[in-house]
């Protein structure tokens, strides 16, 4: 057991004294990659999380489609399944986000953040990696649920390019919204608290154009339901996938909705990313 602890040190042959400074510290991209990789492995190797994150969404989609499908009129020309799927796919962003919030809080509570913050790395890169990983997980959910959607009768009217653009827009929104949830995780302190706090997004999911047309809601609820960011993204995705706003029962043009969705995403990133970075990097 007398060998040196760390061959890394021996590789750093500039050593003059007994203890060369091997800890140069990783750069931004290595740190972000390591952080993202850990989150992704955690997801795919924790059966409960993998099943929850994948099967749960699928189950809800099937239930909505067959339970509510008969009762809900979409207001436009769409059948319920064609109305539902673009909205449902967009809300994957929120479900991924909720588990991200509790994951981040768990890392804070169990000392993972303390270890990371004690390392010679750019601290901000840790949260950037987390946001990228969560975007990846949104993409995974989108992939699984997307396939299922076609199986249960989703037939987009838009061109292949437009449908693909709809998927890309959801991924962009996944990145933007992940910052909100990371912040919730960082301030939540523990997984339960973070989970509780992120329940606040449920209204954003249900009081939106995701599952039912906004026109079917009471008048006082409509301004919020129509203009909150989740609905704006859903309207953009639905218009892209289903061949224009008129067909889905809303005003304006597809370009209008896409631009509005992108502006919302930019606002979320600009506001929440710096808050996350500051919160994680602070020496309190």
């Amino acid at each position: 057991m007398s060998r040196s602890i760390d061959p890394v040190a021996d590789a750093d042959a500039s050593a003059t004294s007994g203890r060369p400074p091997i800890a140069r510290g990783a750069g931004f991209s290595t740190t972000a990659t390591c952080s993202a990789r850990r989150t992704i492995l955690q997801f795919f190797r924790t059966p409960q999380v993998l099943v929850m994150g994948t099967v749960q969404g699928a189950m809800f989609l099937v239930m909505f489609r067959y339970v509510f499908g008969g009762a809900i009129r979409t207001g436009g020309e769409l059948s319920y399944v064609n109305f539902l799927v673009p909205g449902f796919l967009t809300t994957i962003v929120l479900w991924t986000g909720m588990s991200a919030a509790s994951g981040v809080a768990e890392d804070a509570a169990t000392g993972v953040h303390d270890r990371l913050r004690s390392l010679p790395i750019p601290r901000v890169a840790v949260v950037v990696g987390r946001a990228l990983a969560d975007t990846g997980l949104t993409t995974w959910g989108l992939f699984v649920t997307g396939i299922l959607s076609f199986l249960i009768g989703f037939r987009p009217a838009g061109s292949v390019v437009h449908v693909a653009a709809g998927f890309v827009l959801i991924i962009v929104a996944g990145f933007a919204f992940s910052w909100v949830f990371i912040l919730i995780g960082l301030v939540g302190g523990n997984a339960q608290a973070a989970q509780g706090l992120s329940m606040l997004v449920i209204p954003f999911s249900f009081i939106s154009s995701a599952n039912v047309p906004v026109q079917s809601m009471p008048g006082w609820l409509q301004p919020f339901a129509a203009n909150q960011p989740v609905s704006v993204v859903i309207n953009a995705v639905r218009s892209l996938m289903q061949g224009g706003p008129a067909r889905v029962g809303i005003g304006h043009t597809t370009a209008y909705w896409v631009a509005a969705a992108l502006i919302w995403c930019a606002v979320l990133v600009v506001v929440f990313a710096p808050l996350c970075a500051r919160r994680f990097a602070r020496t309190h």
Binding site: D6, V8, R19, P21, G25, G111, S118
Partner: protein, 319 residues
Amino acid sequence: MDPIIEARGLTKRYGDVAALDGLDLVAESGCLTALLGPNGAGKTTFVSAVATLLRPDEGDLRVAGIDAFSHPKEIRKVIGLAGQYASVEPAMTGTENLVLVARLFGADRREAEVAAASILDRLGLTDAGDRLVRTYSGGMRRRLDLGASLVGRPRLLLLDEPTTGLDPRSRSELWDAIRSLVADGTDVLMTTQYLEEADQLAKHVVIVDHGRVIASGTPESLKSQVGKDVVEVRPGDPSDISVVVEVLASVGVEEPRVDPDTHRVSVPVEVGAEELTRVVLELTRRQVHFDDIGLRRPTLDEVFLGLTGKPIDPDGTEA
């Protein structure tokens, strides 16, 4: 050589609680310094300050000669931290966990793999290296966590209660690992709630309570200063307790203490072995049966009693 840690008047308040209350501490290079104290004493707060995780409100702190407040990034290059709870990732293998941390210390992929393998070997985890940490025992997780703090080959290792919650065997394995690190020239700051642990590993022990140092020195000097050996007797019949108290009072330097739950009677004595013999003879003469009798090292509780004249305040509420 310069001291590895020099803290002067460190103060950190959380509302009304002073987690650190003017703490002064100098840890010499080339040995293990143990920070000994009860729950809420401020041990984790101090370790966090040294690890540049938090910034005290007042005071000066130098680590490896570097000012902690103006150059925290430099300090992160010379320390390794194993926090109070093992923070390795359960969904990754032992090797993957170490490679990840080595990469963050700046090693390239190949270097990181070599470093991880050598640390696993050193900690006796080679066979478990390819298993998910989820399947590890608590002791193995702790050892891997220690390993993760070592991959950057730190000058100063910070261990916050490294053996809490471990069974005696895992504890002594971890002790061996820590001893061999110190022998290789790593400076260690370790916190503990166990006097025995400090006694086993440390050259220098600092006792803290309520954010302040209340005593420090070598384990030997502290024990002769405050904690004398203790003779402890458990009579077979609880009704004999009063006789036992009487006998122990005749040899002890203080009033004997009775633990009402376990029926153990104990008293600190001047010359352990001699007094123990006298107690055995006297109890036999009086025909008192005992289930257990022995001479043991003082507990942290008793050291506190000796130092402060009052037992450890378990909630840390008293001012």
